[in-house]
Symmetry: C2
Subunit: 407 residues, 2 copies
Amino acid sequence: MRYSKLFPKTLKEAPHDEVAINAKYLMRGGFIDKLMAGSYTLLPLGWRVIENINTIIREEMNATGAQEVLMPLLHPKDIWNETGRWDEAKDVMYQFEKNEKHFALSFTHEEIVMDLIRKHVTSYKDLPLAIYHFSTKFRNELRAKSGILRGREFMMKDLYSAHATEEDLMKYYWEVADAYLRVFKRVGIDAIITEASGGVFTKEHTHEFQAPCEVGEDTIYIADSWKHAKNDEVMTDGDRTAPGLKAIKSIEVGNIFPFGTAKYAEKMGGMFTDKDGQRKPVWFASYGIGPTRVMGTLVELFHDDRGIIWPESVAPYQVHLIGIMSNESGIKEKADKVYELLTAEGIEVLYDDREDVGPGQKFADCDLIGIPVRLVVSAKTGEQVEWKKRKEEKTELLSIPQILEKL
Amino acid sequence: MRYSKLFPKTLKEAPHDEVAINAKYLMRGGFIDKLMAGSYTLLPLGWRVIENINTIIREEMNATGAQEVLMPLLHPKDIWNETGRWDEAKDVMYQFEKNEKHFALSFTHEEIVMDLIRKHVTSYKDLPLAIYHFSTKFRNELRAKSGILRGREFMMKDLYSAHATEEDLMKYYWEVADAYLRVFKRVGIDAIITEASGGVFTKEHTHEFQAPCEVGEDTIYIADSWKHAKNDEVMTDGDRTAPGLKAIKSIEVGNIFPFGTAKYAEKMGGMFTDKDGQRKPVWFASYGIGPTRVMGTLVELFHDDRGIIWPESVAPYQVHLIGIMSNESGIKEKADKVYELLTAEGIEVLYDDREDVGPGQKFADCDLIGIPVRLVVSAKTGEQVEWKKRKEEKTELLSIPQILEKL
């Protein structure tokens, strides 16, 4: 991609009302644009990061046997009444009336999935079942001050599973937990599994995936003898005196909910016929990762005072090529050729080909955008190209074959 | 994919309130599920069809130089007031109030794009600009009786372009028209470009892409001397006496709107500085294709009394493999082996491996689902495999190498 064609260019300053680092850098770098508090457009660079995150999630979800679908965002009131959540969740859920019909905007999809199950699952042979989608979630957030970490509207990958027995459910539940840990590892986050409460989802304990980060809204606790960390909400008085107790600020990047049968299947009639001919409710669970929140978390974790430092697995491009166009003839042609050579090799290159912008601005834009490798072609680089990693200060002159080998 | 694992299985009957062929077959085949009138879940088979359609659209959009983004669905009232469409479009737009803020759900995104333009476009060097996204659209449809052809909620690929001059705009406008014709051709639709009115989008004439189809809601007219067809709405008395005039029932599968500068750029301040230093409004246009509507149109165009007949380019799988599991030993193993061989060659196979379902049901399900090629392994096929195309009656026995060559 030629940077001269990319929409939009970097901004000198983020809007004054943005306080979060993730929003500041993502807005200045041209990854996102703010439509209103808590609501952002994913611009071409941001969309590429999200697509990379989503591809990793999709691969790990498919590996568990889950199948991709797309469920509606506008829901009828009736279905939310069946579980009592029309009232229970009315603070977070956008609800409205039109032509004497009452609607809600999706903040989650348990009821919608349970409706699919009661219509399409009849026997134990139809189980287990695991479906997921990437779609928009809406939450009525009064405080929307954490950039894309907490939005009125955001992207979610949510997975739902149904099983014939509790044993089957818990086996798959921990398989998904492992898949989630792999997702976070692959995008660059060492997530900590944390016991938490279920909020408007369930009375049972649930598990969160927490990314340690100083600006996180959550506090989690670890102790020497605990298998998992614990969220503040589930701590008992005894827990607070556990040996080696340590508090960690963190960002919740995923969560998984083992519902059992009571809250959804029994209330909505999500039943199947077991091997012995008995009608039984399915064992149900749901699982969520917010790709936009993951993107924001990565910026909080990986940046310096010049800008973002993307992990290679999610970077919008692999290489940021800068042509220092001087009056000396042939530099532009040489940079063009490097761009074409790398692109022909299947390498994803953002090429700053602007002729009316000086080197200082180009280097600053490059550091702000945060692509893992910077290449420079200038009057000084001769037949070679200058190589520098975003996270290192060292530069070296390399030939094209050497660069191809390194990439 | 093993059919025994696919969610969900076919249904014997579609719900009684569905009258449209597209909804009946898509629901019975397990492609979609209805949440409420005009609102459907895309189930795994349907999602695969939509992904195939979207990939074709994405390739053709990228080839025009357009860049992919994702814009919010929840919009503040203020932005719609700037063009007067909060009131103009209030019949189709879902609008509601929450915590003393007024919101609308996206039925289109011109205002949102113009907001991006006024924030990020400063000079003629930032033009042309073309961005698109695939996202959910909401329309307050009172009559939602055409299955997925007309929904309260549906998927749309919408593209927006901004240019420095009218000439640039119209050049790109017709490039997109060509790209749209290629998209429709590739998915199997011979679309007709049709002059139409602009509804709540513009007072100018616009162009629709119409797919001739007897169940279409639209009537278009062609005549010997006309370059393009005309929609009923724009016909003059003179037009109605044109030589060779012919009426065609059709389904609108796409539309393109050349706005100019007045309706959006001037009202919202979408300005740029031209080469001569003058501030001017951008020339603006938008373009839309509804992938879910395209899927429904394909079913209306390509079906028989047994089910759907998917064009190869969008079929959810390339091959539907049926194992006729008899008591004779070794049939299941042979069918499994064919499945593994084809899958290893990168062929997408739906494999009906069910052991408790008879051949009649399997053949009926196969015809209903409509994958282009049916392969059968049974006690009768010996070392070979029976090959049949969905749209032909002829069967033949082929070896695996012969099948690979045909695919």
